[in-house]
């Protein structure tokens, strides 16, 4: 009784939540007649939309840009954040608490308050339409540092001491012990970082003015603006191409994310 009630609620919620995605998927295979007739399921499934979208905008190029940007930003974020987190977890020095607070205070500075000067900075560095503009500003991340520090702190102090007795340098301890010990937290932060940078919208809109490094999100906006009046099926095919990589990544790493992020969020 209780069980069937739960399943009913779960299934209704799942249908409602997932409907937009399913619907987009369905529309991407529809002919324009189906779309005009407001079909839910394509009567005559076709791949024409996918073919057309690849012709009309350089979507593969955008996808590749997004991959490069998201991977580089994630990697840089992992390296920069973990170096800082290592200090906050293991290397005591006078004033460390103050520096840590300085890091945390950046959480209170929202993107919109820094957006204009950052845009001007990127311009004066000559980084417009350059991967650097899309990646480097995201390398330092207070949230990431904090999350990794929380995980690093679970490394037993005895391991640190044992490594000192055995003669490891700080850096050796870092990459031979801490990194393997906390590798799940790197996976968590990595997935999170990839999802957020892949999905960035406003910043790439500002710093890209042509197609060279433009990411797929901006590509999607262009596609929508160009094609909306004529062909929704084509636009949806573009949408599906854009969301598939992140949805796969999310499905694979969902458990990991849930565990890892909760730890960083609360403890």
């Amino acid at each position: 009784m209780r069980k069937s009630l739960l399943y009913t609620l779960l299934t209704i919620s799942a249908l409602v939540m997932f409907f937009p995605i399913l619907y987009a998927f369905s529309v991407s295979f529809m002919t324009s007649e189906d779309i005009a007739n407001r079909q839910i399921v394509p009567t005559n499934p076709t791949l024409a939309n996918y073919y057309d979208v690849l012709q009309s905008v350089p979507i593969l190029h955008y996808l590749m840009n997004s991959f490069i940007v998201a991977s580089t930003a994630t990697l840089g974020m992992l390296i920069v954040s973990s170096l800082a987190a290592f200090i906050f977890a293991f290397i005591p020095f006078r004033g460390r608490q103050a520096v840590f607070l300085l890091f945390i205070s950046t959480l209170l500075i929202p993107w919109e308050a820094t957006m204009i000067p950052n845009f001007l900075t990127i311009q004066s560095l000559g980084w417009m339409n350059n991967y650097l503009a899309l990646t480097v500003p995201f390398f330092a991340l207070a949230f990431g540092t904090f999350l990794l520090r929380q995980h690093f702190k679970t490394v037993p102090m005895e391991l640190y001491e044992a490594s000192r007795v055995e003669g490891l340098s700080h850096f050796q301890f870092f990459y031979k012990v801490v990194v393997p010990y906390a590798k799940t937290s790197f996976v968590t932060l990595g997935i999170f970082g990839f999802l957020t940078t892949w999905n960035m919208y406003l910043w790439p809109l500002l710093v890209t003015t042509n197609d060279t490094v433009r990411t797929v999100q901006i590509g999607l906006r262009r596609l929508q603006a160009d094609e909306v009046a004529t062909n929704w099926g084509l636009v949806m095919a573009g949408v599906i191409l854009v969301i598939v990589p992140t949805l796969i990544l999310l499905a694979a790493g969902q458990k990991q994310l849930q565990k890892g992020l909760t730890k960083g969020a609360v403890k």
Partner: protein, 372 residues
């Protein structure tokens, strides 16, 4: 030749600048000695070990290792190995990789690594789980891996911080013997921290008893047992602990014990008109007069527990709670009067104010062969 020797001179540690974690400790630990630091938790024994390891800085004093002043030497340069309470095994490495980890860092040749690993593995009998990860091992097996790590390092000094406290009682007894044998085979200096006086008594060549950062006594286990320097050492060493009660010295130097029918005449002059603590070990109390019994004390028996071939009595002796350990199986009724017999040379006297032993000359001499 002072390889493996450790000398502490007035070693002092304070974390907050006002309270002592370790107070002015001085001792020389000889090459090849099994030296145990023992005391209740928070007594400073681990802090002392960590200072020797170089994991903690000294507030004052000197540490000499291998004959050289070593205060500022980093842990890895002190030529020592260390076994931690939770073993400090790297969870992402296999047993074998754990054992060889330190050697790789020190860039020991592959061949030599192999040889030392084989040797340690045979010594500790752990060949069958070399390829496993630490989380797949039992507590005793992890313990062995930690020992093997110390063995392969071939350092002249090994430090151990409560290495047996996470094992069950049976395994602990077995590992005690193994660690002792290992130390003798390798001929290394062992500095071993424990809160368990049984471990200290059974393993140590010499031991140091600590309490609140203060060194209470240093010496061979039986010396400490027979000649405790103060009431703390007396009650800390031995199980059940030494019985203590307050007695009064009258103006003629005779000792009056509450509840006792006749006073004790000491063959040693005691300061008159004061209170002292009188101590006797549970195993020196008897229910029947012995050949050498020269004093007796009426008590009220509270409980009687027969433990195999030995009987443990708890009793009220003139207001103090005492215990007696008597060989044999005694089926006695509890909650009744009884008389205990003893030889007054087994009595210990301690000053009431600072607990210092004031009756050392009363005690029987140590039989040398026992200690061999």
């Amino acid at each position: 030749m002072s390889d493996g020797q450790v000398t502490l001179k007035h070693v002092t540690k304070s974390f907050d600048g006002s309270q002592f974690a370790v107070q002015d400790a001085s001792v020389t630990i000889e090459q090849g000695e099994f030296f145990v630091l023992v005391g209740p938790s928070g007594c400073g024994k681990s802090t002392m070990l960590r200072m020797i390891a170089g994991l903690e800085e000294l507030t004052a004093g000197e540490i000499h290792m291998h004959g050289r002043l070593s205060n500022d030497l980093s842990p890895s340069k002190r030529e020592l190995s260390m076994v931690f309470q939770n073993y400090a095994l790297y969870p992402h490495l296999t047993v074998e990789e754990n054992i060889l980890f330190g050697l790789k860092v020190r860039k020991v040749s592959k061949q030599e690594q192999r040889r030392r690993c084989d040797e340690a593995v045979d010594m500790l009998g752990m060949r069958e789980y070399l390829k496993r990860k630490p989380r797949e091992l039992s507590g005793g097996q992890r313990q062995r891996v930690a020992l093997a790590r110390a063995v392969v390092s071939q350092m002249p000094i090994c430090l151990m911080d409560e290495p047996l406290s996470n094992l069950d009682a049976k395994l602990r007894a077995q590992m005690r013997t193994e660690i002792r044998q290992l130390q003798q085979e390798l001929g290394i200096t062992m500095i071993y921290v424990t809160h368990d006086q049984v471990e200290a008594m059974t393993m140590a060549d010499r031991m140091m008893v600590l309490r609140q950062g203060e060194v209470q006594q240093v010496g061979r286990p039986l010396d400490l047992y027979n000649h405790p320097a103060n009431d703390f050492v007396a009650s800390f060493i031995g199980a059940p602990p030494m019985n203590l009660t307050t007695a009064t010295v009258d103006n003629s130097g005779t000792l009056h014990v509450p509840g006792a029918p006749r006073p004790l005449v000491m063959d040693q002059p005691l300061p008159a008109e004061q209170e002292v603590q009188l101590g006797i070990r549970p195993e020196h109390l008897h229910l029947e007069p012995q050949e050498d019994s020269d004093w007796e004390l009426p008590v009220h028996l509270q409980t009687v527990e027969v433990l195999g071939n030995e009987t443990l009595l708890t009793m009220d002796a003139g207001g103090a709670d005492w215990k007696a350990k008597i060989p044999g199986q005694w089926s006695l009724e509890a909650k009744r009067q009884a008389v205990l017999y003893l030889n007054s040379s087994h009595l210990h006297l301690f000053a009431l104010d600072n607990g210092k032993n004031i009756g050392a000359s009363l005690s029987a001499p140590v039989q040398e062969e026992v200690t061999l």
